[in-house]
C-alpha cells in the first residue's frame, strides 16, 4: 500500500496534528514501511472469522442508577490551562 502525502495530510487533519514539512516526509516514509509490513496479514485467510474485540466472554457489566455526589468543581478545573472559576475556556466555538 502506497502512503501518499495527501493521505498523511488527511489523517493528520483527522488527528489534529500539523507536522512540519521535514517531519511529514519522514513520517510518510515510515508509515509506508510499517503499513507495508502489516500487509503480511493478507496471507492469512480470515474468511468467516468473527472479529474479536473483547477477549473475555464478559458481558452485562452494569451499574445501579444511584446518584453519587459530583466532584468539587474547583478540583476539576484546577488543571485547566486557561483559568476560569466556572468553566473550561476555549477560543470561539459556537456556530
Amino acid at each position: 500500500m502506497k502512503i501518499t502525502t495527501e493521505l498523511v495530510d488527511y489523517i493528520s487533519e483527522l488527528s489534529r496534528l500539523s507536522l512540519p514539512k521535514e517531519e511529514k516526509a519522514a513520517m510518510t516514509a515510515q508509515l509506508e514501511r510499517i503499513v507495508g509490513y502489516m500487509d503480511v496479514l493478507d496471507r492469512l485467510d480470515t474468511a468467516g472469522v468473527e472479529p474479536m474485540s473483547h477477549v473475555f466472554p464478559l458481558k452485562n457489566v452494569l451499574r445501579e442508577d444511584e446518584v453519587v455526589p459530583s466532584q468539587d468543581r474547583a478540583e476539576l478545573l484546577a488543571g485547566a490551562p486557561a483559568p476560569d472559576p466556572e468553566a473550561f475556556l476555549v477560543p470561539k466555538a459556537v456556530e
Binding site: I11, R16, L19, L31, L44, V49, F56, G79, P81, A82
Partner: protein, 511 residues
Amino acid sequence: MNELMNLTALELGAAIKRGDVSIPEVTALALNAVECAPHNAFITFTPEQALRRAEALQRGLRDAVSPLYGVPMGIKDNICTQGIKTSCASRILGDFAPPYEATATARLAAAGGLSIGKTNMDEFAMGSTTETSFYGPVKNPWDLTRVPGGSSGGSAAAVAARACWYAIGSDTGGSIRQPASYCGVTGVKPTYGTVSRYGLIAYASSLDQIGPLARDASDCAAILDVLQGKDPHDGTSLDGQYGHLLEGLTGDVRGLRIGVPTDCFGDGLDGQVRKAVLAVADVLKARGAEVVELSFPVMEYVVPTYYIIAAAEASSNLSRFDGVKYGWRAGGYDGLTDLYNRTRTEGFGMEVKRRILLGTFVLSSGYYDAYYRKALQVKAIIKEAFDKAFQSCDLLLTPVAPTTAPKLGESLSDPLQMYLSDVYTVSVNLAGLPGLSMPCGFDGNGLPIGAQLIGPHFGEGRLLNAAHAFQLDTDWHKRAPCGSSSAACGGAHPSPSVPAEKAYKEGGILA
C-alpha cells in the same frame, strides 16, 4: 545498611514488622539511593510525602496486616495519583495532578504501600526503550550506555538499581516484561481484567494491564495479591479468587508441563539468549516438570496485529489531550482548530504521533476493513492458537526479547525494527493472558537475559510457582548491578550468598 537494599520486598516487610528496622529509616535509604542514582528512573520524586507517609505508617505498624507494609516503592507515571503530578512522560500533560486516585495505587495504599515517586517511562507507554520520554531517557543500571527497555523502564531500573524494593508498571505489549528482562528483575503482566485499569492513563484499552516489577517471584506474588480484585469502576474487571498467590508458592512443579514453542526459538533470536532461556526448561525439568515441544504457527502475525489494534485504540484514547481541560496548551494559536493542532503537534513526541497517525489510518473510512477489522479477526486466530497450545501444556516458555538491552540511541531511528523486537510479548496481551519475565542468565557483556513464562487465563499462580521453583535453584535474580546502592556486585559473577549446590550450572540446553 546496604544489606537492607538487597533484601526482597517481603524480607524487608518482615524486618519492618519485627522492628529490626523502622519505616522512616528504610524510606530515607531509598530516597538517598534515588538521589544518588544516575539512571533518571524517576520523573517526579516525592521525598516529603514519602517521609510523612513513613512516619504515619510507622505509627500504625502494630495493626499492619500486609507483608508489604511500609516497603518503599515506585509508581509508573501513567498511573494517576491524586494530587501528585502524573505526566505519562509527555509534554502534553504538563503538571497534571489528577483529582482522583487509581484503584491499583489505592489498593496498595490500603495495604501500607509507600511511594517514593513516579517512575520514568516511554511517552504514553509507547516504546521499548524509555527513550521517548519527554523527561529524557532512562539508563540501564547494568550498563549506563544501554537502554533499560520500555515502556516501564524507570520502574525496572529503579528496582534493579536497588533504589526501591518494588515498582508498579503497566504492560500493553511487553512494557513490564521486556524492561524486567533488560534490567534483570522479575515482572508480571497479569491476566487482562484482574487488576483494575481505573486511573491507568490508557494507551490501548483492550491490552493495557498494571503489574509488578520486583526482585523475585515471591515479591510479585505478594504485590499481585494486593493489586488484583474486581473493581466496580472498571467495566472490564473480572471476578476471581484473588489474594492467594503468595501462599501458593510451594516450588513443587512435579508433573507441570512446560511447553516450548519451537517457532519462538528460530531466526532472529540471539544465540546467548536462546541458550539461557532454554536452560530454564532444564532447571524445571530437574524439579520434576515435563518439557514438551510444540508449534505456535502464528508468530509472524502477532506484531502487525498488535500494532494495528494498539495504534487504533491509542489514536482515540489520546484525542482527549487537546489543551482544553488539563495539561499543557501551546501558545500563539489562532482559533480553536489551531489550538488543537499546535498543542498536539508540539505536545506529543514523534513516536506518539506516529502511532496516532497509524491508528487514525487503520480506522479511517476505506481502510477499516482491510486493517482494523482484519486485525480483530487475526486476534481471534491468535487466541485460538494459545487455547490449542494450552491443551498440551500448562504453561509456555519463550524469550522475552530477541536480544539483551541495546545501546541508547540505536533503536528510535528505525521504528519498524523496534516494533519487531516486541514479537515475543505482544501476543500475550492480544490474548489477555498472564505473562512473567524473570532473569535467567547474562550475556557476554554482562547484561541480564530474561525468560518469559506464559499461562492460560488466571494462570498467575502456576506462572509464579514455576518462577519461584526456578529461583529456588538459581541466583540470577539475586545479582545486583555494579554501582547499585547495594554492596553486592553482580554481572556475570555468581553471588556468594547462594549455596553452591543450588546455583544453576550453565550449559544445559533443551534436547
